[in-house]
Symmetry: D3
Subunit: 340 residues, 6 copies
């Protein structure tokens, strides 16, 4: 099996059942997930020896996060244990014109207070083929920034391909802070992934004329930006998911990629949403698998988009789809007919 | 805070979980609500000192109804306690072409058997700015009629603006009975609200050429009727919600109003329904707030419609949306994008 | 009451809650059902003395299946008791482009290992008016084949009208095996019902140019095949449901029938799916009732289609709709407005 | 199968989940049951053709009650349909020193407003061997009294053995009212069953020196009363259950009987309570079966007590135990070891 | 109504369902509660105008805490809004010899970071008769200490009786830190309440020879300590609950009090535990009510003990018992017989 | 970490919620477990590199079993994939004198139809220190017998200590069949574990005068048998758990062991049962850890008994207790006091 590594924060999502609002909830569904952890699970599902690196408290809530990763085949050997708390966020699921809502309670988590010394990066990246991280980890704290940089640097030194999902989070830092950190990290990046707002806020590339609330896509604008990003940072691939938010219940979902030669726009899927959390992560994971498996740029893109379209139909952060199930959709069967 | 008063029946809704039919149910969700109580909760959410007036048994089921009102900030000081039972209705939620169904078991409830003497209306309306009631309360019993009239009269005498939601209920009375009572009550009404059938059945105004099952709206017909109603009863405002029932799962939702000068038709929302009970009440409450907050007629209407569109996405009778959340939709963001 | 008989397997469906994938499930909803049992329940709902014939183990899981039938009015007097197990299948409900999935664990069930001697067919068919069976029962085992043939023969000898739903199951037999058995059984059949694939795989009639995954219907092709089937086997009626699978969440649903004189295509319903298991069975039951109740061919077809459209909105295998509720949809009210 | 008949009210119990208090409940478990209905289910479990007679509304809540009876094999052919409502009661389950609590909402139920003409008693009692009724039915209304008397009289005229469970309900009538009605009905009774308070309140026999809250049993007092009752009314058997309420969680449970010759006290069981509703009814049913099956007085008593001890471990009103399971306890195995 | 005030932290308890261990939980029951908030709810149940003072975030999780208090009648007018988070703790319920477990995640809650300036204590204590606080609030932070002292001082200046529940929490501070703060605060205290460990750890009074894990009570030791505490700090009353922990499922529960004249030991209750969280708080509230209602020392003690015995049978932190229900137990009915 | 290996069947337990009887269940809790798998999880919890060996189908139900093992840290590398089905059993939980009940549906599972060639035993036992198996695996099929023997032989050849839990299952084989197989396998066994019936039925050693339903233990009888067993088969240790089944809710639980020198009887725990499935397995695992960790015979026994006493308080088959939690009970704290 091919070894791949992801690093970041895994949080406890406390999600109101059904479409309950926060003030209605008498219980919360407990879902463990987080950008890079979600990628790790997808890669495990696709057959990789998938390691997730983080720091978690020694207590049982920390252990439950470890267990949920193990359950889906993720290797947890490199997870440091210590610190005080698992980051939490509360979420309620919107419907129609009512948006989903998230309340963060993630400060002072174990990974946000971890040290570079908690991780032996040379051991971690030994024989690894890919390292994936997101723009959330450097945003959670100064230490998070430090660890991210150390990890990316070590990955490159060990000859590991590096991908990043920009994933700007406005509750964690300002665009100025983000760009200061993120632009420097881009030197280590082979594959840069983001959605419509990340390029602008994390790296300062504004998709001109793009109004993300209008639901209209200016695909020419995307092409221009991806090419400029490639030019400035020298990425091998730069890709963006393209979400068209018709409502909280229905979205259009596609993506585009530029590989230095061609710009490709994928097929678009109209998705009836079960749970959109982790949608972007499932695209990243699908794209990584597409590229690692030797598919060409276009096919890798289509695998990523199909994977993430399917993710929207699965409750929880993790995209619990096999490679065969994703490929079946790539191959054109979107009819949803019962598989007996 | 501005004091507002609503009066009526709060019932126990026993609702089958999910889309279960009555004969499948092994449990019922217990939801307390009712036309005017729902308005009271909305007004509390919008920042009013919102009093709900009714009569409830002293036992714990009566107390649970009180508690649910208090939970959402409604003042329960004027609720009389006594009598035998809380009115009940059973409901199952339809889907697609299967309609939702309601079985009433509301006879002999405490409020239906209450006396005018149970309420000190001069105390109740002291310093109040608005009084809202529906056509259900006079329909539940002769005593209900009496109390309604006494309340409306007292409200007017105390200089309180009075609104009514006609809300015709065919299980409670015939059109003839309804019109006999309701037409007389109209003398106390400043703002008259209803949906497509109420004007006809409660007041005898037939929207000519309107086929409520066709899903097509004859907006010209509505304009004509609203103007005639205004003319006959001297309302300051007369408004109607406009439901287009595509199916039990999807409705179009808009409204219109006539303020004696202009006839306005609102923006229309297509709603994927989570729970449509209380949809009309949330429109009434939104409109009341629109008018009380000093918005102009058009803006008040749009606030009411946006509020009630959002209600359709919330489980339970109560429209658990803040003013800011409603205004956000009025201002145009119906994309349902996650709010972090 | 008119006596009708159905025979087949009733299984235990273990269904993941909501849209959970198998690997997420910590519990399964327990639903008893099966092709012919589902028909039996519909017929009971429409007012027939509806007998279901099968064999079930003596233990409590077998008893629970009996109880669920009795609960909905089905007569269980002719059910043989014995054998080892109730057939099981696991199911997860898809959404959007993610298909629903079924894992069978039905080998060696009591009915699959039953003997002809377990049933007294002359007693069973005494005074019965209709016998319905599906192509699943002969497929489950050689004994199942034998019992099916014995039952159909006895039914004909007792002057009972016989209907069959072809219901090809690829996990149970090959097309060659199926055709060998099924073509012979057709001599006893008055009414032959199927969907798009059954005619081809069970009887060898290929709807030319029909691509079941494209979502497009070649209605002319259907007409041709139904006529050929009628010609070859001498059915009184031959009907096919027409599913257009837009996605796992939304389907188009209609049907067509040929009665030897005219070919009719029904109205088409677009259904938002709650549970599509038993959709075909509810069509068969609706059609049987349509014909038994003396409706003409076209009206019987429309009753069947409306019944099965409604089934898609009901959780579980059984179509828990009354005749009046189905007729209401046939009569044109698909608005889903609340019925108070 | 031996035909037996019970008659009375079946209600909808709305039970808070777990140990929730009424004011905590967001849902209610829906349990259909009632004194005589519970007896009917037990007798069905013991292998009788068990008919339950009542009147229920035509709507789906009434139907759900019918279905629940059918599910457990009770014959519902004689149930009249009509009237407005199913009687309801709310219940919460106590623990330790906190008592269970019941709130009744049963007025104006269909059976309370039924007429003698709703029932064809000669048809009902044709070939029946036993008729059981409780003191609740005559208490619910004057019509209930009338129907009870008509039924008991018809039963005697048809040569049916009659048993009554006195079951005094203080919310329904005063001791004076009760005794006036009940004492007259005793002329039709062969087997009189009750618990400690019923004899006193329904018939005016006071167990002297018995303090029901002390938890101590004065068995000599019971013997005396049973003998006096037998003497006055000429019962063949008179029996009493003996509950020792240590707490809401733990009870001692036994019974005694006098057959005109001997007074027997049964073995006592200490029960950890899962659901005590229907405990007395399960004793009545067990005793009836004991006597009908030809057991001697002592063995019939022990069967009744064992049955009802087991009932306390089953959720819901119905005692879902087979004859073999009860007999196993009678035979001495109370170890609760797993049965594989 | 008599005005009473409590102040402290209300937390979100995330409780695994049933007896699940943390690592098994897929959901958490969401329960809002905390030492003083629990007292506030009890006092509201006993008929007081009960104000709870704290600081909570403006977001919906903070609002949900407010709503839960309002639901049970607690006045929330003095609750400051702001800060970042609601304190959280995770809990699992033990059984038999497996202890219940708590994992705290309460740092940096809004109340822990509140300022004295957030509260207008003169307004708060105007016309109040009683102020209750616990030793947890001064322990959560330096600011918590400051606020506690300011509140107690203001209470005394406004002539309000002050009670404290010592409630030592070893996760929050050391005995040394605790004693430094708590001993100084005792000057403001009229009624001092605690359990076996608090006196020792918070105030430095060691119950000699008391082994809290042995389950044996050294009542003489308690008497001595209470008297010494009274002597040193000049309390009017000093009371201690007496828990005998037989297992996680069963406890003995009683209490003792010294009023400067007599030492009283209460009746002991053996409780089968449903939820023991809030047990001590319900004792404090019961004792406060006992004293405020003019009961003598012994009767006040018995009311407190009966109240808290009953609390152990109620799920959640709040003791949802009325005065009449508690008094019923005080008066001797512990039989748990159904109340109809 | 020390490598340990267990081999056997992991089944899907379909467990009715709460105390529901089979015929009441509308859902089943899905619990994966089985004798040796339960031991594997315990050993993982105690810090071993714990491998579980079995064969499971490739489909998602098989995968879910794998995932549940991984979740709790068990290594699944040696699990063969293939075959048709996961063995199933249905269970309902008894209470008081009502026994728990199990219905097996385990024939033809993947492991029952596996071949010796599915497993590379030399690889499996490389560097392993312990191998544990039960008497269930040889009982499920002739192939199961073969595999068991091959595994035990290979273990011995690789110098691995072998333990067996006799675990006689009367539904799988007769005592004669069992003894024929089991007696031969004993040559490979170092540590033989069983409960009261196993020795008799699997090996033919009858505990004379022992009445397992009486609840009385004849400890002298046990001592005699253990010594005879040791003598005949040359075990290093022979141990027996001692269950005293007071009722389905409460058991006494202890154990005894003979190490060739001394016979030890452990402390006895009275357990209030949450879930007794896996109780014996948790004893085996605790004893294995006790011996592997270098504890002396008595201490190893006490660790095993404490572990399994705690298991009875945990829902599901797996004993989710850490070594520290077990040791805490061994060390004497059975008070169940909250651990904060």
């Amino acid at each position: 099996m091919t070894k791949v590594v992801t690093m970041g924060e895994i949080m406890l999502r406390l999600s109101t059942p059904g479409y309950q609002r926060f003030v209605q909830a008498n219980s919360f569904d407990a879902i463990y997930g987080g950008g890079e952890a979600n990628v790790a699970v997808s890669l495990s599902n696709y057959g990789y020896e998938s390691y997730f690196v983080t720091k978690l408290p020694k207590h049982e809530i920390g252990q439950a996060a470890v267990n949920e990763l193990r359950r889906y085949g993720v290797k947890t050997d490199y997870i440091a244990r210590g610190g005080e708390r698992v980051g939490i966020y509360f979420s309620e699921t919107g419907a129609s014109m009512r948006p989903s809502k998230v309340i963060y309670d993630r400060s002072n988590s174990s990974i946000a207070e971890a040290d570079v010394a908690d991780f032996d990066f040379n051991e971690i990246f030994k024989e690894a083929k890919w390292f994936h991280i997101s723009g959330i980890t450097p945003a959670i704290s100064a230490k998070g920034s430090e660890i991210t940089k150390a990890a990316m640097k070590a990955a490159k030194e060990n000859g590991v391909t590096v991908s990043v999902d920009l994933n700007y989070r406005k509750k964690l830092w300002t665009p100025e802070e983000a760009q200061k950190v993120m632009r420097e990290l881009m030197q280590y990046v082979d594959v840069c992934i983001g959605n419509e707002e990340d390029a602008s806020l994390s790296l300062g590339f504004t998709p001109k004329g793009l109004d993300v609330t209008s639901g209209k896509l200016d695909i020419k604008g995307y092409e221009k930006i991806l090419k400029e990003m490639k030019e400035e940072f020298g990425f091998k691939y730069v890709a963006s998911s393209l979400r068209e938010s018709y409502s909280a219940s229905d979205n259009g979902w596609s993506a585009c990629i530029y590989d230095g030669k061609e710009f490709y726009q994928s097929k678009k899927y109209d998705v009836r949403i079960v749970d959109r959390v982790g949608g972007g992560d499932s695209f990243a994971a699908g794209l990584i698998h597409g590229l690692l498996s030797g598919r060409n740029t276009k096919d890798a893109l289509e695998f990523g988009v199909a994977a993430s379209a399917l993710k929207h139909t699965v409750k929880g952060d993790f995209n619990l789809m096999s490679e065969a199930e994703v490929q079946n959709l790539v191959d054109g069967d979107a009819s949803g007919r019962v598989q007996r």
